[in-house]
Structures are given as structure tokens and as C-alpha cells.
């Protein structure tokens, strides 16, 4: 867009953005570029929250938001786009309310649907920048490939516990996400934030870095993170930058043999099963009430595979506690002549534990369906859920 074609600023906008307008690297022309810009955010969660708030406040003219989740009370520790009164409502509804309050000049376009290989190109088309704030590997590869195919820069950020990564992929001559990570880890190797936890301010730190990169791309200012990966360690208060090189053999941006979007669930080895451990891990399950009744009779043992600090929050009665990570070395502690019920918080880790025990020759092992969440709902409501 030539300077002449950029949208004009109203008097109200000039006053609102005055701290930008007096910055030499932004100025009136930069602010008009921001107003003309179209930025698509994938996810309105931890990373999407600061992204949406800061990009809206900065005056990005059109913000697209893809999310189909509902606000949960456990989101509020980090997802500052949503508030306590929004619990139970779609994230896009609370996002619209909040963004309108932050900056009514922003046009918000919402897509309340999961991003898929079928809809990604249609949704991405027409955006200048895509910002990846998703929480899973299949969608990250999907976002990358769609960005490469359409030639749209992909502002990347991801987080785990106290650490984060940020970069800019798929710029004209820059590397893409596949150049950095050609393939995803096998399912279950890297825990999600729901399983492993995340420091609430960390997505704030990484999301604002992504917002900064998006704004720099729009303005054409500064040194982009394209070709570099920023590693953030919140506990160590350290930032480190490493080089990301464009891989000439990359099927997406190198050889360009990848000419269409693929089945990303299959690519990541995770057939879409809606997160149900019984289906995902194909292990025998026991219902919480049945497990409690058998436990009372003394003909079953519960093995709790959660971490020690979790046991302080809510407990199963009469358990053998062995954290999942220690299970391979402590299998000898478990009896093979008893019925064992493996238990955790929601039933995912314990399903992995059942698989490990089956592989070690145990035949009398069951997964406690729904973990301590369903145990509290159906057996012992006196304890808190987490």
C-alpha cells in the first residue's frame, strides 16, 4: 500500500495514538500502516490474550481471531483477555467485549471453528500476518504450512512451564517452522500446559514479544526475529538468541514439494479422539464409583502417578504414590497378583502408566476414568479440584 492509499486517522485517533505519533519510527505514516494492517491470531488463550489486547491498543485496524473454546475458570490465571464474569461463555464473545473496550476503532473478525486443513487457506487469505498462539503440534504445523503456501509471515511463540520460544517464520526469504523442527515429537512425550502447568505471566511475556514482532513487521522497523529463535527462561531471567537457518531440503519452504495442506493429526501421530484417554490410549478403565466400592472392600489398590506437590491439593485414600516419571524404575514395588487402579488428575498420565505396566507384563491394571476430577465429583466432593 502506498502512503497515499493508507487510511486517514480521525482527530480522536490522532489523540489516542499520540505516544506512537511522536515516535520517529512510527509517526503518522506508521500509525496509518497499523490501521491498514490485517493480523490473524490463532487462539484466544494464554498467548492470544496479550496479543489481542496490545495489537488492539496499538491500533491494528483489523484483527482476526480463531478460537472455539469456552472460558474456563482455570484459564483466568493467565488469559487476561477474559474475566471472572466470562466463565462459561465463548472466548470469542468475551474477546469481542474486551477488545471493543480497549479500542473501538478495531474491526474484529471472529472465526468460531477449529482450524483445519479444509478451512485454513480460506481463513488466512487476505491477512498480512498470522500469529501462532495455539497449544498443540498439529495446529502449529498447519499454521506454518498454510503461511508458507500463501506467503504470509508467521509470528511464532510457544510456552511450557517457565520457558518460552519466539520467532518469525515464513517471511519472503526466511526459514519456516519446519526448518527448525522438521517433525513433531511423538504424542505424549511433551506434556501440554494442562498437564505440566505454566507460569501465568509467561504467556504475557512471550505474547507481548509476538505482538512486538507483528508491529515491527507492519511498520518495517527494527530487526525482526526472522532467522533467529529467542529462548526465554523466566526462572533464570535469561534471554538467549540462536540462529534459525532456512533448510534447502525443507519440504515446505525449501524444495516446496509440499504443495497442499495435509492431515496434521496423522502427521503428528495423534488421531483425533477428542482427548478421551480411553480411546487415545486404548486401555481398560474403571469408573470412580466402582473403584471406590472395590477399594472399600479391599480387593483393589490405587496407584497414584501424580507428582508429590499435587498430592497436597487433593488425595485418593490408601494409595501407593509413584510419580509417572519414576514408574519404570519402581515397577518392582507393585504387586502383580492384585487388581491395580492407576490414577492421576484427569486420566491421561495414568493411562500412560497402564500402558507401561501392560508392557511390563501386568494384566490386572485399570485406568481410573477422569482422574481426581471425577473422583471428587462422584466419590469425595469434600476436596478441591485443580
Amino acid at each position: 500500500m502506498t502512503p497515499r492509499e493508507l487510511p486517514a486517522l480521525s482527530h480522536e485517533e490522532i489523540l489516542r495514538y499520540s505516544r506512537h505519533l511522536i515516535l520517529p519510527d512510527v509517526g503518522v505514516e506508521g500509525q496509518r500502516k497499523l490501521k491498514a494492517a490485517r493480523v490473524l491470531l490463532i487462539g484466544a488463550g494464554g498467548l492470544g490474550s496479550p496479543l489481542a489486547l496490545y495489537l488492539a491498543a496499538a491500533g491494528v485496524g483489523t484483527i482476526g481471531l480463531v478460537d472455539f473454546d469456552v472460558v474456563d475458570v482455570t484459564n483466568l490465571q493467565r488469559q487476561v483477555l477474559h474475566g471472572t464474569s466470562d466463565v462459561g461463555t465463548p472466548k470469542l464473545v468475551s474477546a469481542r467485549k474486551r477488545i471493543a473496550e480497549v479500542n473501538p476503532h478495531v474491526e474484529l473478525v471472529t472465526y468460531e471453528e477449529p482450524l483445519t486443513s479444509e478451512n485454513a487457506l480460506r481463513i488466512f487469505e487476505g491477512y498480512d500476518i498470522v500469529v501462532d498462539g495455539t497449544d498443540n503440534f498439529p495446529t502449529r504445523y498447519l499454521v506454518n504450512d498454510a503461511c508458507v503456501l500463501l506467503g504470509i509471515p508467521n509470528v511464532y511463540g510457544s510456552i511450557y512451564r517457565f520457558e518460552g520460544q519466539a520467532s518469525v517464520f515464513a517471511t519472503k526469504d526466511g526459514p519456516c517452522y519446519r526448518c527448525l523442527y522438521p517433525e513433531p515429537p511423538p504424542p505424549g512425550l511433551v506434556p501440554s500446559c494442562a498437564e505440566g502447568g505454566v507460569l501465568g505471566v509467561l504467556p504475557g511475556l512471550v505474547g507481548t514479544l509476538q505482538a512486538t514482532e507483528a508491529i515491527k513487521l507492519i511498520l518495517g522497523a527494527g530487526d525482526s526475529l526472522a532467522g533467529r529463535l529467542l529462548l526465554i527462561d523466566a526462572l533464570g531471567a535469561s534471554f538467549r538468541t540462536v540462529k534459525v537457518r532456512k533448510d534447502p531440503n525443507c519440504p515446505a519452504c525449501g524444495t516446496r514439494t509440499l504443495t497442499t495442506l495435509i492431515d496434521y493429526e496423522q502427521f503428528c501421530g495423534s488421531p483425533h479422539v477428542g482427548g478421551d484417554p480411553k480411546v487415545a490410549f486404548n486401555v481398560p478403565e474403571i469408573e470412580p464409583r466402582d473403584a471406590a466400592a472395590r477399594l472399600a472392600k479391599g480387593d483393589v489398590d490405587i496407584v497414584d502417578v501424580r507428582e508429590p506437590h499435587e498430592l497436597q491439593i487433593a488425595k485418593y485414600p490408601k494409595v501407593t504414590a509413584i510419580p509417572l516419571g519414576q514408574l519404570p524404575n519402581r515397577i518392582a514395588e507393585l504387586p502383580r497378583d492384585r487388581d491395580l487402579v492407576l490414577a492421576c488428575r484427569t486420566g491421561v498420565r495414568s493411562a500412560k502408566a497402564v500402558q507401561q505396566l501392560q508392557a511390563a507384563g501386568f494384566t490386572r491394571v485399570w485406568n481410573l476414568a477422569g482422574g481426581i476430577h471425577r473422583w471428587i465429583d462422584e466419590v469425595d466432593p469434600s476436596q478441591p479440584k485443580y
Binding site: G43, G45, G46, L47, G48, D132, G133, T134, D135, N136, F137, R140, G157, S158, I159, Y160, R161, F162, E163, Q165, L180, Y181, P182, E183, P184, P185, V190, S192, C193, G196, V198, P203, L229, L231, D233, L235, G236, R240, T241, V242, K243, V244, R245, D247, G325
Partner: protein, 90 residues
């Protein structure tokens, strides 16, 4: 001759340290030393054939080793090896 190996939190728990000193003249030898001392960590650094995984990137002094010979890349005393596994949280 020692290289400083930097581990992210997700792997540091397997060695009980965020930084390790390891001898070796190549990245592969350094990784091998670490894997011998910490077998559980070793499994997360290389596959059963001793090759790097496509979802764990090694940086030797901020350069991706894949473009410098992979595990055969030569290390010098005082070099830094940063392990960066793929994470997906958001």
C-alpha cells in the same frame, strides 16, 4: 576439553541440573558422555540409533548443528551446546 551443555527445564530434571560440563571432540561425543551419565536424559537427546531427533535442535554456540555436520560437528574447549526441544504450549 569440556563443553557446557545448557538444558531447558523440561530436560534439566532428568540430570538435576540446567548446565552440565561434558568432554568430547564432537557434539555426538559430548551428547554420548551426557547420555552415559544420565540414561533417562540420553533417551530424550538421541534415538535408538544414536541419531538426533527431528524435534530436538542442538545449537553449538548458537548455530544449528544440522547445518554443520550434525553430531559429527567439531567442538572446541569452552564451546556452548544448547538443547532446544520442541514445545507447543500456548
Amino acid at each position: 576439553m569440556a563443553t557446557t551443555v545448557f538444558l531447558p527445564a523440561i530436560l534439566a530434571k532428568l540430570a538435576d541440573a540446567k548446565q552440565l560440563q561434558a568432554p568430547g571432540e564432537t557434539v555426538g561425543a559430548v551428547v554420548n558422555d551426557v547420555a552415559t551419565r544420565f540414561p533417562d536424559l540420553g533417551e530424550r537427546l538421541r534415538d535408538s540409533k544414536g541419531e538426533p531427533y527431528p524435534f530436538v535442535t542442538f545449537y553449538l554456540n548458537d548455530e544449528d548443528i544440522r547445518f554443520h555436520g550434525g553430531f559429527a560437528a567439531t567442538v572446541r574447549d569452552g564451546d556452548e551446546l544448547t538443547v532446544v526441544p520442541s514445545i507447543a504450549g500456548g
